[in-house]
Symmetry: C2
DNA sequence: TAGATTGTTAATCGATTAACAATC
DNA sequence: TAGATTGTTAATCGATTAACAATC
């Protein structure tokens, strides 16, 4: 069904940006766009967008541009979000709570199905519609439900231990909010999203 | 005082990773490291680390490696976090609350000093030690305190409006949690940190 | 048809790596 | 001294851009 292009990771990183901008355009009632218009929104050159997309197929029409609905559908297929991914949240502190209650997942291909914490004092209590479960039973629960995606929101000094459990449970993708580099085996994908890292990147440019 | 190297943005993006790993090593009691060891932790080649650092000076010793404390100090200078940056949080929902109460800022060069929301029902109530202020008075409050850094955690459809206010108030760096591309003038830096974008990047690799 | 925009090629540009003299 | 590791150069590799034929 799919081609087997060798897709540079840097291209994969841009596809979600294209998808998000296109979905926004659709929401604004637009039905067609061009590589130039999309590029202007994103600060990316039109040539690059066309080249990126051409790795996966021919989605546009000369002289016209891209049908937004169609391109969104294709990008969702390419990124494997033509289904809903079940996720777990590990860590029921403020960040875990925010993730558990975040409304922005479901219409973009993801949903939280379980929340775990190791603190006996909060296990059993509710976060939104979830009852916080113990990390002691986490491996089994994740395995039984074949969950592949986790968001990790525990303190830095507990993150590696939690990640090890997730890996053991079969999780293949970890969105890591702890400010630490996790060691994981081949085939497990980690995306770090520590706010301070981004702030530092900006403060470099905030010279005096 | 500083050199004037032309530093590629991709290098700037790696410096915070170096800093974070070095600070962790220091915390673990280590006092010296090498480009090789650091590279192994981060999944980055030793040559690249040496090359990146060499843009800013000569921080190591042949045969020995890098004094961690010294390199941390230098990186903090380079990234302009040899001081504490005051920040505001805009949006007092779950994400804004998590950011306002996050303990991980202060020892890494940042601190939240004010929290704003536009909802009259929550203005005046407390989040941690902050009293939520009205966005109506935000521009003035930011200006008076010469704040340059903001974290934006409002719904997507209010994000551009809030960003416009931040820019008007003189903010130069915005960490944007809303899943939307903000339009900002030259000289204002935006870092997007929408969780779904990262999840999509990973789900590409989660083929079946 | 005339105008617009794609998909793709070739040229350019920039980033990464390999290698090694210098030196601690 | 012998071993190790830096800083830096040159070579390689990969990504971006410019340009244009194809075509809607």
């Amino acid at each position: 069904m799919d081609r087997i292009p060798i897709v540079p990771d840097i291209v994969v990183g841009r596809l979600p940006l294209y998808l998000r901008a296109l979905q926004r355009m659709a929401q604004e009632g637009q039905s067609i766009t061009s590589s130039q218009e999309l590029g202007e929104r994103l600060g990316i050159s039109a040539a690059q967008i066309r080249k990126d997309l051409s790795l996966f197929g021919e989605f546009g029409k000369q002289g016209t541009g891209y049908q937004i609905d169609y391109l969104v559908e294709k990008l969702r297929q390419i990124l494997h979000v033509d289904k809903i991914w079940d996720m777990v949240v590990v860590g029921a502190g403020d960040v875990g709570r925010a993730l558990s209650r975040y409304q922005g997942f479901t219409d973009r291909g993801f949903r939280v199905v379980m929340v775990f914490d190791k603190d006996p004092k909060i296990i059993g209590s509710q976060i939104g519609s979830f009852q916080i479960q113990s990390t002691d039973t986490m491996i089994q629960a994740i395995r039984e439900n074949c969950i592949l995606v986790a968001m990790l929101a525990v303190p830095a000094d507990q993150a590696q231990e939690a990640a090890d459990k997730l890996v053991e449970a079969g999780v293949k993708a970890i969105l890591n909010y702890a400010p630490i580099n996790l060691g994981v085996p081949e085939g497990v994908y980690v995306q770090n999203t520590d706010p301070v890292t981004y702030l530092l990147r900006m403060s470099y440019y905030l010279a005096s």
